[in-house]
């Protein structure tokens, strides 16, 4: 089977951005802050795959569970040491948001140090690198192509099940709605937040671990994706996980396919402006619909209900 490389790029990139956007939204819902370090977890996943593949000679897919657990544990550690501590001493939303920026800078530097250490120690080229040669082939297609898509779909299904069918999921939704009220009802907010940070950190790291199988990667690749992740999350509506699925896919597809199409239409110079695409999406959403597609959906729902009530009322009046 042969699929043009640009479509493979689009599907892989969009799938990974979608998972990252879902995680970003979930963190926002439970901790009420945008986590600017979210993309950097993906950067850690990138180097987990690199280390296992290039240094230890293992299959890149071995990194999937390792990246998930490592990312989740690291994210929990960050929550306990930084976010949780700042919350306890009364740090507000602004302090917490800025602290995530500091975490992002710290972690990016740590990845850079690790990459340099590997370079000096093993004489292996660590930045930029790509692991296409290490990927498996499935029916003539690179393994990451179906894997990324399956991973994205599985994440959506598992999250849906978790949020609707399990006690932890219900507690997470309650915390997202109103943390004070959830606390009064006996929900341990701290534990819920800790779990959600584990989940989002793990998913982000896992998404990152698949990235170098198709895309060029370096220590700043993960942190550099934060604009796209935020655009996807904001487009879907920051307070709706299902919106993030749609938002992530739109942003990912736009960056890949739209750039290629615009280059064909207007010329090669358009390609230089690819990083502007998520920026433009962010600006448009913030100006015209700050609550994203979720806001549009809610307004549509309200109108539908109002219309139904008007009809009901007029029917009742006619009946009377």
């Amino acid at each position: 089977m042969e699929i043009s490389a640009i479509y493979i790029s689009t599907v892989v990139y969009s799938s990974l951005i979608t998972v990252l956007s879902i995680g970003f939204t979930l963190t926002y819902l439970t901790a009420k802050i945008p986590n600017f370090a979210h993309g950097t977890y993906a950067g850690i996943g990138i180097y987990i795959t690199f280390s296992l593949t290039r240094l230890m000679g293992l299959s890149p897919y071995v990194s999937i569970p390792i990246a998930f657990l490592f990312g989740g544990a690291l994210s929990m550690l960050i929550f306990i040491l930084v976010i949780g501590t700042l919350q306890k001493i009364g740090g507000g939303a602004i302090v917490l948001t800025i602290s995530t920026l500091a975490i992002q800078i710290f972690m990016t530097a740590a990845i850079g140090i690790y990459a340099f250490w590997v370079l000096l120690t093993f004489h292996t080229y660590t930045q930029p690198f790509i692991l296409r040669d290490n990927d498996i082939q499935i029916s003539g297609l690179p393994g990451v192509f179906p894997f990324a898509l399956i991973f994205c779909i599985a994440t959506v299904i598992v999250l849906h099940f978790l949020l609707t069918k399990t006690n932890m999921g219900i507690a997470m939704r309650a915390t997202a709605e109103d943390p004070s009220l959830a606390s009064v009802l006996g929900i341990n907010i701290y534990r819920v937040q800790l779990f959600s940070w584990f989940l989002t950190g793990g998913l982000a790291c896992l998404a990152g671990s698949l990235l170098p199988l198709w895309f060029s990667s370096s220590p700043i690749t993960g942190s550099g994706m934060i604009t796209s992740i935020m655009a996807g999350s904001l487009l879907g509506g920051l307070d709706n996980i299902y919106g993030a699925i749609f938002g992530g896919f739109v942003v990912g597809t736009s960056e890949q396919l739209l750039t290629y199409m615009l280059v064909g239409l207007f010329g090669n110079y358009i390609g230089e402006y690819r990083p502007l695409i998520p920026m433009i999406i962010l600006i448009i959403v913030l100006i015209f619909e700050p609550r994203g597609l979720n806001g549009v959906y809610e307004r549509w729902q309200v109108r539908k209900i109002s219309k139904a009530r008007v009809v009901e009322k007029s029917n009742a009046q006619e009946g009377a």
Partner: protein, 438 residues
Amino acid sequence: MEQKSLTLVIVMLVVGLAIGGGLGYVMAPTKEVVKEVQVTVTKNPLKDATLKIGDIVASTAGLETEKPLIDKIMVPDLNEYVSALGFGMKVQILLDDAQSQPSIHLEKVQSFKSQGITQIMGGRWSSQAQGSISYMNENNMILVSSSSTSPLLKQKDNLFRICPTDLVQAPANAEMMKTWGIKGVIIFMRIDPWGEGLYQVIVPALQERGIELIDAIKYAPETTDFSSYLQKLEDDVKAGVAKYGDKKYVAVQIFSFDEQITFLTAAESYPTIKDIIWFSTESGGRDQRYINEIGEPLVAKRMFSSYMGVAETSWKFINLDRRFLAETAQTAGFYTGTTHDGLWLMVLSTLEAGSTDAKDVIPIFINVAANYFGATGWCDLDEFGDRKAQVFDIWGYYKDTDGTVKFRKYGEYDGRVIQVKWDDAALAAVGLQRPALG
């Protein structure tokens, strides 16, 4: 009568003496007044001095080879030489990293200046040299670059480049393509002073040789994902092949740095460009990293690179190459040689000037360079402080009989007479044959 005559003689004698004395007084040179002045001559102005040179690598990856080169080879060699001459000066080289950013390069330059360091080995990428040179001119600092080649920086300033500019290299690549029978080319390049400099020189060079520039795909240096660019390249190459009838008439010319390692690997996913002929500059040739990272796909792409020739047979280069290989497990390339030569020139100029201050070194640098034979040969610089045109080697990759990928010299380009000489025997030895030119 006799007495009268005697009186007249005496009078005339007196008058003559008076006139002669007067004239003699007026015409006599002024009397020199000898003044005693005490001049203190310092016997050895550099005694107990320390020459601190700031060394800024272009990207973090460069530290891998630069650190052992500096610590294990350059600093010991330079100090041994200075000490043997009895100068009593010490040479220190402080290493830093511009992290691929011109702005960070400038920050590092400013940081060195604040430490009193005015001699910098850096500006390895033209964009980084361009971003810092104004500041360095204003502050009497010297910037010696081992690898900046953009013609856009050809000015009389404090930048001295130990490598020739692209005014020599771009025609070399155009001539390589012409002699290989290429009819259409797509340029795939980064947008920075180096890439733009090469582009501006190669476009007329291609036109002169009747090679069509099918397209130029330019990407920002920060780009990490090349998917859409490679797809466009694939489309362009397909169109070129359709027009000229065969893949052998179409080529890709890349002006890229280390990012080409990833996009050359990624190009394997595109059916047309994966085995088209790629021409490259020095950053793609004769490099063990390319073999380690990309491997076999390099063979199908040929990757003919114009690579500034080193003084291969000179003891200086052989010695440097042997020691560099022992320290880094990589062979020394042209830019290893220019770094070596640049640092030597800074030290020799300092000794000649009797001062570690760059403002004393700058006026004599070109003269010192003209008389220096280094690992890369005679380091003659032009009036702008740039290395004069020399011979470029043509390198490419091939698969050896044992299955390993290796690099090999396939010919030469003489920048002085604008002529390419392919080594047909070397090509034939690896199963390559130069197409017959129609």
